[in-house]
Symmetry: C2
Subunit: 353 residues, 2 copies
């Protein structure tokens, strides 16, 4: 899958990919991250790859310090145990204190903390809940798991005000409001320490779109129409604390066509910029695209153009893009692209090919 998909990062109009560590086994050593980086770079020499560790007990402050000094990793991703693909080794989001020594090192070296912002589901049975006062406020489920995580985000920021944090692939108005609130008192030109990334597909999807359509099932799940509108407003706001992150997940189509245990994830990489442009254009906000997909993220991560392995630039051009029905390879691998079969209106052109 890596060999097939990695070239599509550039094809989708993207020069820099932030590489998630939730492999089997998770990426937790300098050697793993270095080798993985080498493999990716060989497949796509013009794409810049930033590597991450998987937050777990294996990560000592010493290891993180060494990795930071050697420039091996840009960030560490935190997965609450059990909420998404390969998150079994993840952390208990009710108590991050065991990782505070790691966060201190991260703060010191500017290593970013990438949060999968969901609390694991909590279901109470009928016998343990007082029927008279059963308003569901103690339940956690896929629809409110992100909202329930937000206090933990606020506490982390309060405890580590210098730590750079990304609330990844946020899906709710509640998350947008929380990240707005954290940044409400920034002075003009002050760089945000806490940002939220927004995917392409969450600018399109609501719960109706994954009900009965496993191809659109991802974690966090797409929420309500008002959440989708809030995400599109945030992405097009020009606020530097909302940045694009595709969270593109290439699962083989066979893993999407099952009656249970559907792999979570939507695949967007091949047409990444075209999707985002389509959403922005739908409300006449293409002028806000560059900030969202490029400038704000680069500024937050401290990436300068000379840091990229290739300085080619991409231009958005008004030109029909026919999304393939299915991406297929000779070895039988098949991946369903998001909005398969759709006709989009904005393509990408690289300054050099």
């Amino acid at each position: 899958m890596m060999n097939h998909i990695t070239p599509h990062v550039r094809r989708g109009g993207v020069s820099l990919a932030y590489i998630m560590p939730n492999l089997t086994p998770p990426v937790t050593t300098i050697e793993q991250a270095t080798n993985y980086h080498k493999e990716l770079q060989q497949i796509a020499p013009k794409t810049t790859f930033l590597m991450t560790f998987y937050l777990c007990r294996d990560l000592t402050p010493e290891l993180v310090e060494e990795a930071a000094k050697k420039g091996v990793i840009a960030g560490i991703k935190c997965y609450p145990a059990g909420v998404t693909t390969n998150s079994d080794a993840g952390v208990d989001p009710n108590d991050f204190s065991a990782f505070y020594p790691v966060f201190e090192v991260m703060s010191k070296y500017g290593i970013v903390l990438n949060l999968h912002g969901e609390k694991p589901s909590v279901k109470k049975d009928s016998q343990t809940v007082d029927a008279e006062h059963d308003d569901g406020s103690d339940d956690i489920h896929v629809m409110n798991a992100e909202a329930h995580f937000l206090p933990a985000l606020a506490k982390l920021h309060a405890d580590f005000p210098e730590l750079k944090i990304v609330l990844e692939h946020c899906t709710t108005k509640a998350a947008v409001d929380a990240v707005d609130a954290i940044n409400a008192n920034l002075t003009q030109g002050e760089a945000p320490k806490v940002v939220a990334s927004i995917t392409a597909h969450h600018l399109f999807l609501t719960v109706d779109d994954w009900a009965g359509a496993p191809m659109n099932f991802c974690k966090p799940v797409a929420k309500l129409p008002m959440d989708k509108r809030a995400l599109l407003r945030a992405a097009t706001s020009g606020k530097p604390w909302f940045i694009f992150g595709s969270d593109s997940a290439p699962h083989d189509a066979s893993k999407k066509c099952v009656f249970k245990g559907v792999c979570a994830g939507v695949y967007t990489q091949t047409y990444a910029l075209s999707y985002v442009a389509e959403a922005f254009d739908s409300i006449g906000k293409l002028d806000k695209l560059k900030g969202f997909v490029s400038e704000f993220g680069h500024a937050f991560y401290g990436i300068k153009k000379e840091d990229l392995v290739c300085q080619d630039e991409v231009t958005l051009v008004e030109k029909p893009v026919n999304v393939e029905e299915m991406l297929e390879w000779d070895d039988g691998t098949k991946v369903i692209p998001f909005l398969e079969g759709a006709k989009l209106h904005w393509d990408v052109e690289w300054s050099s090919n």
Copy 2:
């Protein structure tokens, strides 16, 4: 599928099946209903089948009167257009007035109105919604479609107080509360005119269970944990306005293993009574089972024992039931049973086999 599944009604511990009319084409004539009834009866001679019409413009008051006089139908099912399997010919639930002449005939002859209680989805785009006041209150989606339907139920009951109405396969605390409210002023022994049916699977499922598991996707979708608790409390309440209705939907497994367009429906018929008993037993309420699965429904529909084609009685016995992983037939048909592979604790025994 009919030949395979019809015998499972009895196998699941059920003597009377209420037959839905959403075939292709929908059941809208006396001839269709009569022939369909004949076919079912031939396959399962000991099962009683009550037939229904599909509410649409083809149903004239004269036709309904004739069908009622001939005893062809027990009820008419109303599907809001576009909300579930084969509902394209359905009605606009924002305005039932076109069907009022039909409802008058139904009231007169005691024909039951079976409501699929969901409003079709309404999504507003970002440009038409005032961002400052965007609380989502105008949106309708799969999670609130039932709650939005409830005022229409109340209005129908107010306009036709003698019409027998079933809010079918209800899934929310809001629906339970609405039907409780309608029946709040019944005098002792007075028969309810409005009841709600509850499926076996909605006593088990929440949104988390169909996220990524198409086998558990049905319409209305299973909602939140507090809704599931409210349904279990209602089913076990002993109130005669909550009755069992399986809404069992046998789709071929191939139609559940697709990346989009998953057929809505959960298949429960083979183990229907075992599932319900399991749920009731989980909160120590087996004493309320008979009312819910048998007495209250019979009373509402006016069914006496001598009306049944077979007077065999079923007994619940404490005995392990291993739910098959997959029901398979020689012609290649496969159906995934609900809770496939699970071990249940209550089986059924017929007084004669």
